[in-house]
């Protein structure tokens, strides 16, 4: 899946995450989180794994996390990528 356009998913509210994607030739992931000390590494792993499942190998991915649970982060990465790629979800592979 290729990111064609800038796209955003999620919100800045507590327990949610705002994910922003833009097209690029290389893959760069940037995460800032209110629970960085406790879950920074785990959030980056979740984002990377979710991008991998979506087949995203290029793009600028920025995540602004406000203490969101893992399933929220997954859903927000999916939302931004699918909007960026203007694609429909394959519910089996999410």
């Amino acid at each position: 899946m290729r990111i064609e356009v800038d796209a955003v998913a999620g919100t800045l509210e507590s327990s949610d995450a705002l994910v922003r994607v833009s097209p690029a030739e290389e893959l760069r992931i940037e995460v800032t989180s209110t629970v960085e000390a406790q879950f920074g590494a785990e959030i980056r792993r979740t984002v990377a794994e979710q991008l991998d499942r979506l087949g995203v190998t290029e793009g600028l991915i920025s995540v602004q996390d406000k203490g969101a649970l893992d399933f929220v982060i997954r859903a927000r990465v999916q939302g931004a990528v699918l909007r960026g790629a203007q694609a429909r979800p394959d519910w089996r592979k999410l």
Binding site: G10, S14, S15, A68, L69, F71, V72, G79, P89, W91
Partner: protein, 306 residues
């Protein structure tokens, strides 16, 4: 596949609405002890968020946060562009119950039934286990209530939604005012539920801060025989459950009825009697319902809760 208890066993007094686009509520609402939580993809989700809310609900259903908790998802109405995607998103995540809004006739239920069958096949769910809750919101829906309620073995409940029904009936729905304009609709879907032996849910009470008005409406629907009510805020759960809780005397009597029935069965007597009065099957069934309700409501009976 998660084992889905049959509706009869689960208490079904409260169905708490949660906007499918609100990550915070989807992460925390399971603590409030509602009998059902309903993730909404329809009216509480703006058009801009339909796609992301669908993903959020899909991932919530698959997450450990909601494992083992009975979740209903209200999808968008059949005639909307969102219906198919909503359905696929939730069935692929193993949803227990799909709530379909704007139901006007049995054909819609059969259409949903068929769609669910296809999706259960595609995603490996046990065929027929995804249940349906139909929301009736129009004159035709109310008039066709029995046909709707009996349209599929998947049906687990039927609910009334006031705002659209009132508009369809050229009247308005003001939660605090007297409810005569809903009386016929309530009776209609109640009868349909009893015919189909499924649950029956009343409208939401929107003004969370008006506890008296809420309790007035709860008293009305309990008297009519409703099983439960849709709620919009956790603060409405406890008042509702207290209102539906049987009194200690009712629980006491229910235990004696069950005991008498068991005694009669043991000695092979056909007719059960208690305090000189005959007790038939519906009374025994009602007694079991009262006992189950007492257990979940934590009603104290002499010698602790049995």
């Amino acid at each position: 596949m998660k084992a889905k208890k049959s509706p009869a066993e689960r208490p079904s007094r409260s169905m708490l609405f949660v906007p499918g686009s609100n990550a915070a509520w989807l992460s925390t609402v399971q603590v409030y002890g509602a009998d059902y939580v309903m993730f909404d993809l329809e009216d509480s989700v703006s058009v801009r968020e339909k796609d992301t809310a669908r993903l959020l609900v899909h991932e919530a259903l698959k997450s450990p946060v909601w494992a083992g908790v009975p979740v209903v998802v209200r999808v968008n109405a059949i005639n909307t562009p969102f219906f198919r995607d909503d359905l696929e998103a939730v069935v692929s995540a193993g949803v227990a119950i799909v709530r379909l809004p704007m139901v006007t006739d049995a054909q819609m239920i059969r259409h949903l039934d068929a769609e669910l069958g296809v999706l259960e096949g595609k995603y490996g769910s046990v065929p027929g286990t995804t249940r349906i809750l139909a929301a009736v919101e129009s004159a035709s829906g109310v008039v066709n209530a029995v046909a709707i309620a009996t349209a599929s073995p998947r049906m687990m409940g039927i609910a009334l939604a006031a705002y659209d029904y009132a508009m369809d009936m050229h009247t308005t729905h003001d939660a605090a005012a007297d409810e005569s304009q809903l009386f016929f609709a309530r009776c209609a879907i109640l009868h349909a539920a009893r015919v189909a032996k499924i649950h029956c849910y009343d409208v939401i009470y929107a003004d969370v801060n008006d506890t008296e008005g809420f309790l007035r409406e709860v008293a009305v629907i309990k008297k009519l025989g409703f099983d439960g009510k849709s709620l919009v805020n956790p603060r409405q759960i406890e008042p509702l459950h207290n209102a539906f809780a049987p009194t200690p005397e009712e629980v006491e009597r229910a235990h004696r009825v069950v005991a008498a029935a068991a005694e009669a069965e043991k000695v092979g007597m056909g007719v059960v009697a208690l305090d000189g009065k005959m007790i038939d099957a519906p009374i025994i069934a009602a007694a079991h319902r009262t006992i189950r309700l007492a257990q979940v409501s934590g009603v104290q009976v002499a010698g602790g809760v049995r």
